[in-house]
């Protein structure tokens, strides 16, 4: 059935967020706000050693301590709820990671939980943790990914026989031939530093088992409540329909909360065993040493370049540092494999080869964080391209544009099917916004005054709408994804949408309502989005990977389509017209060309529920549950940074950043710009401020926020954002997904700007973060090189 499409009334508009007032009033309910009769509180005893055998644990005094209800160690939990993690589609290339909820043999990183205390209050639980005596036998620790892969490295998981969790190779085109014959060869080794999503709300879990109905309720600060349910049910040996997962307001996730944590299994297990509700709220020290770090990646890149500056072939070897355990379900491949899959980026090379390795080390497990391995991969590739430009005496932007792919849909050499965009125009637009030629002029003038300005570009293609197709393109298993929404028109013509997507800042309650209101011709505030509770919401794998605008948006297109069809048929019956002759606009269904012959949506809905003239030959329930598993889609963007480096102190000041973003159809420009600004600040943080170093014994050197330094209001740059809108030809609503771009692109822009600023000193940048002390070391080393 074809109904006339009317111009959108809400999609594309800057609608203020309907979710805001509850946060602004302090009324939103986060996990820690959950209070239940008889609630007990858990605290973990965590390993002070990076690698140590547990000879014995004496919890006797702790069990006797005031207010304590239970103390569990590895011996008490055994194999219950054990997490088994692998990539099923790659049995020959990827090992299987096994993690007990509490280890029985040894601790594998500082912060590894070895016992849990449940007490009347968190204070008392921590008191009892102090009373647990562990007889430790410290073992040699491995803190460097490449050293971990060496033959003689201490083995962290004995059953694997070594510390290599995965090794994947890929090659396409005549790599060797092109490298043999190219006019220029370049190599770049880049170490992207360990960072951390660090949502302001730490992790938290509350478990409660209700005997009567036989239902386990788990409140957890997660991005994917349904997948938590699907994972927990078998681990706790419960049927899935007796597990209900509630993700209430979630105080930021950024990928960290799109995995299953041992604590997330253990707390419900305790609730089941004790018959009392149990709460655990992660504290900041736990968050910094034991939740999930990210993006530490060693990238060894090589480029074969023609004498005209054309990029012919890229080779890359990526060694990821997974830490002590595999993030469930992603594994430590989430960084190296995503980086490798995007080695070609937006460049039209002829051959590519990559290797991706995952090393196990005695550090905090590494997991997904907004932009995952695309971020370090982008930083490494773009830093290499700036090196190439300098070596060839070419302008870095012009060299990039020369090598940029066509803006038409096409396939990358690693097999990503780009759906077209503004790859060249985004770069040109960024240059225009910077007033590039004059900026270069200013840079020269300032250099004469001993001031060092630098300009860095970072254009990229960004996957959006992570689901089966994009997962496959990134080398992950993706037979099929189940992401659905339910749309129901209530008797008063208000509309309820349920979904297992989960907003933790993205504004779903607003953006998705815009889509539905337009599709059904109802007022925006007639639509309500319900999510965050597996009871009564349609199944979805959650919100991550820049997917909700695409995947939920697409599912909504289909579900609202069903309902439109029904409304039109019912109206056609009443109006005695052919459904094909009807149009739905401004809240009314009317005969095309004859507006006098029309019904309001409310009248049609009333007819469907209880009206006299309801047709008898069609199914009239005004509800539809539809899923959507989109094809691959890719946004593109160009980020540019202008920085000034103080060569005496090493301080980097970002004068300005510019973002040109093309994410296809924009649902709500205010939310899109908010996502860009927020992601960008995270990228700036990774590039310039945040570090999670370890000493040689594997002690974390940034266990509090005094050492792990988020960017503050004083550290984020003035920002100009421009949009190019190239709707996706393949997704249901033209949206491409864009939540991660700033985090993917900003570090490369910052790295290149700093390198550009320091180019008079012969400095090349090959790591993050670029903190003041690191900048001065670069300058010192360059001075020493030039002396030698």
């Amino acid at each position: 059935m074809t109904a006339t499409v009317t111009p959108p009334r809400y999609v594309g508009k800057r609608m203020l967020r309907v979710e805001d007032p509850s946060f602004l009033r302090g009324q939103a309910q986060f996990v820690d706000d959950v209070d239940l009769p008889g609630l007990l509180h858990a605290a973990f005893l965590r390993s002070p050693f990076a690698h140590a055998r547990i000879r014995s644990i004496d919890a006797g005094r702790a069990r006797e301590a005031r207010g304590v209800h239970a103390v569990l160690t590895g011996a008490d939990v055994g194999d219950a709820g054990m997490l088994v993690t692998t990539i099923a589609t790659r049995p020959d290339e990827v090992e299987t990671g096994v993690r007990r909820l509490l280890p029985t043999d040894k601790a594998r990183h500082v912060g590894d939980p070895v016992a849990v205390v449940v007490a009347r209050s968190r204070y008392l639980a921590e008191d009892a943790c102090d009373l647990i005596e562990v007889d430790w036998e410290p073992l040699p620790a491995v803190v460097d990914a490449e050293e971990a892969l060496a033959e003689d490295a201490p083995v962290i998981h004995e059953e694997l026989g070594g510390n290599r969790f995965a090794h994947i190779e890929f090659e396409r085109g005549d790599v060797e031939g092109l490298f043999d014959s190219a006019a220029h060869l370049f190599a770049k080794r880049f170490h992207f530093g360990r960072t951390f999503a660090a949502p302001l709300e730490t992790r938290g879990v509350v478990g409660q088992y209700e005997q009567g109905p036989g239902e386990l309720i788990v409140w957890t600060s997660t991005q994917f409540p349904h997948l938590v349910r699907t994972s927990l049910a078998p681990l706790l040996e419960l049927p899935e329909n007796r597990v209900r997962v509630i993700a209430p307001a979630v105080g930021g996730g950024f990928g960290l909360k799109v995995q299953i944590f041992v604590e997330e299994v253990l707390i419900p297990l305790l609730a089941l065993r004790l018959g009392r509700p149990v709460k655990w709220i992660e504290d900041r020290r736990e968050a910094l040493v034991a939740s999930g770090h990210a993006k530490e990646l060693i990238c060894d890149l090589e480029a074969a370049v023609g004498d005209d500056g054309r990029f012919l072939a890229f080779r890359g070897r990526y060694v990821g540092d997974a830490g002590a355990y595999q993030a469930h379900p992603w594994t430590g491949l989430i960084d190296p494999l995503c980086a490798a899959s995007f080695l070609p980026g937006q460049y039209g090379i002829e051959a590519v080869r990559y290797e991706a390795d995952v090393a196990i080390t005695n550090k905090c497990p590494s997991t997904a964080y907004r932009g995952v391995g695309w971020t370090p991969g982008q930083a490494a590739r773009e830093a290499m391209i700036d090196d190439i430009a300098r070596a060839l005496g070419r302008d870095p932007l012009e060299l990039r544009i020369q090598n940029t792919i066509s803006e038409e849909p096409g396939e990358s050499l690693t097999g990503c099917r780009y759906d077209g965009g503004s790859y060249v125009r985004a770069q040109e637009k960024a240059a225009e916004m910077l007033d590039y030629a004059r900026l270069r002029e200013r840079q020269r003038r300032l250099r004469d005054e001993g001031r060092y300005l630098g300009i860095g570009f970072s254009p990229f293609v960004e996957q959006g709408g992570w689901a089966a197709a994009v997962a496959r393109a990134n080398g992950f298993p993706g037979y099929a994804y189940m992401d659905s929404v339910n749309v129901t028109v209530e008797p008063d013509a208000s509309v309820t949408v349920t979904s297992g997507f989960h907003s933790h800042g993205q504004g779903h309650h607003t953006a998705l309502a815009q889509v539905v209101a337009d599709r059904l011709g109802v007022p925006f505030d007639a639509v309500r989005i319900v999510q965050g509770d597996t009871a009564g919401t349609a199944y979805s794998t959650g919100t991550y990977g820049s997917r909700t605008a695409v995947v939920a948006g697409g599912a909504l297109v289909h579900a609202t389509g069903d309902i439109r069809d029904k409304l039109l048929r019912i109206a056609a019956h009443t109006l005695e017209a052919n459904p094909d002759d009807l149009e739905l606009a401004d809240g009314r269904i009317s005969v095309r060309g004859d507006p006098t012959h029309s019904l309001s949506i409310a009248e049609v809905v009333a007819t469907a529920y209880s009206g006299a003239g309801r047709p008898t030959d069609i199914e009239v329930s005004l509800t539809s549950t539809r899923s959507y598993d989109p094809p691959e889609t890719y946004s593109n963007a160009c980020i540019a940074a202008v920085v000034e480096v103080d060569v005496e102190t090493g301080a980097v000041e970002i004068e300005r950043m510019v973002v040109v973003e093309d994410c296809g159809t924009i649902l709500n420009p205010m939310i899109v710009d908010g996502q860009i600004a927020g992601a960008l600040a995270q990228g700036v943080g990774a590039a310039l401020y945040e570090a999670l170093p370890y000493d040689e014994e594997g002690q974390p050197l940034a266990p509090t926020l005094r050492e792990f330094t988020y960017p503050s209001t004083l550290d984020v740059p003035p920002l100009d954002i421009a949009h190019i809108e190239t709707p996706s030809p393949v997704t249901a609503n033209g949206a491409k997904g864009m939540g991660e771009g700033g985090t993917i692109g900003a570090p490369a822009a910052c790295v290149n700007a700093v390198a550009d600023a320091l180019s008079p000193f012969g400095v090349s940048v090959d790591f993050t973060p670029l903190r003041p002390a690191a900048i001065l070391s670069l300058l010192r080393e360059a001075r020493e090189r030039s002396r030698a």
Partner: protein
């Protein structure tokens, strides 16, 4: 991350506080603004049995400006920052306080607490050293005045004993023609510094340096004066060369510690630049420099 249990004892007078400290010795800690102590207690890396809460001692909240500037130990950093007396008598202190934490930590954090905590990367102790302040310490045998430079002894260690209380900070009046400067580098925003320099220059009418005081923070286990650098400026015109030479002197002998934010080597390098910048600012303010 919750503090271990303790007994909370509020005291209304210095004498009461001293009585508690005598009774509990090393098991007691003094609670002033709590902005340094409570984070450590929350981490359980400090676990006093008795917390002697001196917040009710109102006599320690006074700011007196009778010739020299006298700050009671319980003067909140925010109050000192707002104080006209501090601005006019010790403008360096006002400048430095702006770099100390944030509105919400300054509202509780006290001058005395910052002094007693003796964090080598804190700004306030270095400023007090540059200002040649004296720290009044009271014990059972009465009050003694300790020059700031000898008060700060090592990281988190001061000349005050377990049974003594920091009660006042005395900042002497500045010389008549005097400029001040402060420069620091921090990992971000207004965090604790990596390194910094606080300088005072007394300048003749003919723009010659009569005396110089330079104190550095973040480059040793305590704030340190740069005596050679100070001597090198005495009697000299404050041109760029003189300032650079002094800065080199100031940084030359340092052997700063390394930590997660920066290596010792970096701190030495950056100290030179920071001293030069702080001196240049001081020279400009004092009317003696370019």
């Amino acid at each position: 991350m919750k503090p271990a249990p303790f007994h909370h004892v509020e005291v209304a007078t210095v004498e009461e506080a001293l009585g508690q400290l005598r009774e509990h010795g090393a098991h007691a800690r003094v609670l002033a603004g709590g902005q340094s102590l409570v984070p450590l207690m929350n981490l359980r890396s400090v676990r006093p049995r008795v917390l002697v809460d001196i917040n009710p001692i109102s006599e320690l909240e006074r700011i007196d400006a009778d010739g020299s500037l006298e700050l009671g130990a319980m003067v909140r950093q925010a109050a000192a920052l707002r104080s006209a007396e501090v601005r006019s008598l010790a403008p360096l202190l006002a400048d430095v306080l702006r770099q100390v934490g944030y509105p919400a930590t300054r509202a509780r954090g006290t001058i005395g607490g910052s002094v007693a905590h003796a964090d080598p990367v804190a700004e306030l102790p270095a400023a007090l050293v540059a200002l040649e302040s004296e720290i009044a310490v009271q014990g059972s045998h009465g009050e003694r005045l300790v020059p700031a430079e000898s008060f700060f002894q090592a990281r988190f260690e001061t000349a005050a004993g377990d049974d003594e209380l920091v009660t006042r900070i005395r900042v002497p009046r500045l010389p008549r023609r005097c400029g001040w400067g402060f420069a620091e580098i921090a990992p971000r925003g207004h965090d604790f510094a990596i390194a910094g320099a606080a300088c005072l220059l007394e300048i003749d009418s003919d723009r010659v340096c009569r005396s110089a005081r330079i104190a550095l923070l973040g480059v040793a286990e305590r704030p340190v004066r740069a005596a050679d650098a100070e001597a090198s400026l005495q009697g000299r015109g404050l041109d760029g060369a003189a300032l650079s030479e002094a800065a080199r002197h100031a940084a030359g002998d340092l052997e700063p510690p390394s930590d997660v934010h920066a290596s010792g080597r970096y701190r030495r390098e950056v100290a030179e630049a920071l001293v030069r910048r702080a001196l240049a600012e001081a020279a400009r303010r004092g009317g003696g420099g370019s």
